[in-house]
Amino acid sequence: MGQISEQLPIVVESLNIGFLQTLKLFFVTLTGSFPLGLVIAFGSMSRFRPLSYLTKLIVWIIRGTPLMIQLLIIYYFPGLVLHNPIWGSGEAGRFLAASVSFIFNYACYFSEIYRGGIQSVPIGQEEAGLVLGMTKPQIFFKITLLQMIKRIVPPMSNEIITLVKDTSLARIIALQEIIWAGQAFMKGSHGISGAIWPLFFTAVYYLIFNGILTMLLGRLEKKLDYFR
């Protein structure tokens, strides 16, 4: 037991650094996939058939294959097959490749949620706005948008919580996120080897972060409870 209390500060510091990378990947993914998802949603709803078929095909492929494979392919394909390692070497390159994979993957999931949200607002809402002399943008921003947000908050919350846990997949391309940091102590990092308890600690990080997110998203859902 004495040994653990000596090791604790070292482990916590290391996990903090890993967790920072996890957080970075999380927020970069959200920032990129929120808007990209909307673009994909409009693409799949387009009346221009080739565009809507193409986006639907891409969404099908991305949602139909494991994120881990996408990560590996996006990271290794340019270097191994094209002999053009666009990601660069080192942690920065791995982070970039992970970000691109995650943004693309999550944008595809979000696009389907957006599409459902947009299509679930009754057409009568738009028609009521038109009859009242509103412009299309006014109708979208003043009428449709909030109703759509209200409908997509619960499914989006699910995806966001899943994303927190999915960031750990970036471990497969050796991104130094929190699981990588926790696992390092099994192999002899900082002179500590064979220690499995730091992995339990990483679980606590996830739990706490997801707890906070669940609370915030729950609050947002409550906030939108004032109308139906």
């Binding site: 038109l130 009242l132 002399g133 003043k142 139906r228």
Partner: protein
Amino acid sequence: MIMPILEVEHICKSFHQTEVLKDITFSLEKGQAVSIIGSSGSGKTTLLRCLNFLETPDQGIIRVNSETLFDANDPSTRIESAIRKKRLHFGLVFQSFHLFPQYTALENTMLATELLAKERPDYKAKKKDIHEEIRAQAEALLAQMGLENRMDNYPHQLSGGQCQRVAIARALALKPDILCFDEPTSALDPELTGEVLRVIRNLADGNTTMVIVTHEMAFARDVANHIIFMDDGVIVEQGAPSQIFGHPAEERTRQFLKGYMGTGHF
């Protein structure tokens, strides 16, 4: 002779192969109410949607105050950007209200007027005054609808009859030349139709120009100055209520009205 406020000439509308409106022609004078009756699927809703530019007729002309708003043969009347302003000549009250759920009764009534006011050149300078004016007008309208105690309620907190009265206030706020109703009581429980019909009757007494599609025959007879009976996309017969309900000239009209005898609607 008085110039009609609304002239509808030879309107035709098809969806794919189905002809829904076949050569519809009628006119309406300012301050008058016309009621359109007819069986389900006869094209009443489609006609109102054409007047409000939610559908584009294939043929025909729509004039308001002698201004040609739509002419199927004149492409310049189909310009998308101009249609928005043209819609403002008309108001439309839907069967199922279509209130905006995230806004209170008062906000529903004010929203469109406020957005429109932003286009006024003096908006920036007189923002506060304009806002106050719009608010006062909306409050007055809701009070006129008997909703003075419901202004801050959201649609889901209101009964169907109250919702429909908010929808009427919302339409009136833009001061349309012609207010259209599409079966305003059909989505309501029977005990709630009275309050909505009473409001429309008051509007008629105040000489609001209206086109009212309804299945309430007694109400149509009572409130409208003119009745149009439609069947299968054509106007079979039109005239004064006493004539249509008392001495219908056409067999189809007689058959249709017979269906309402003794149902309590008549």
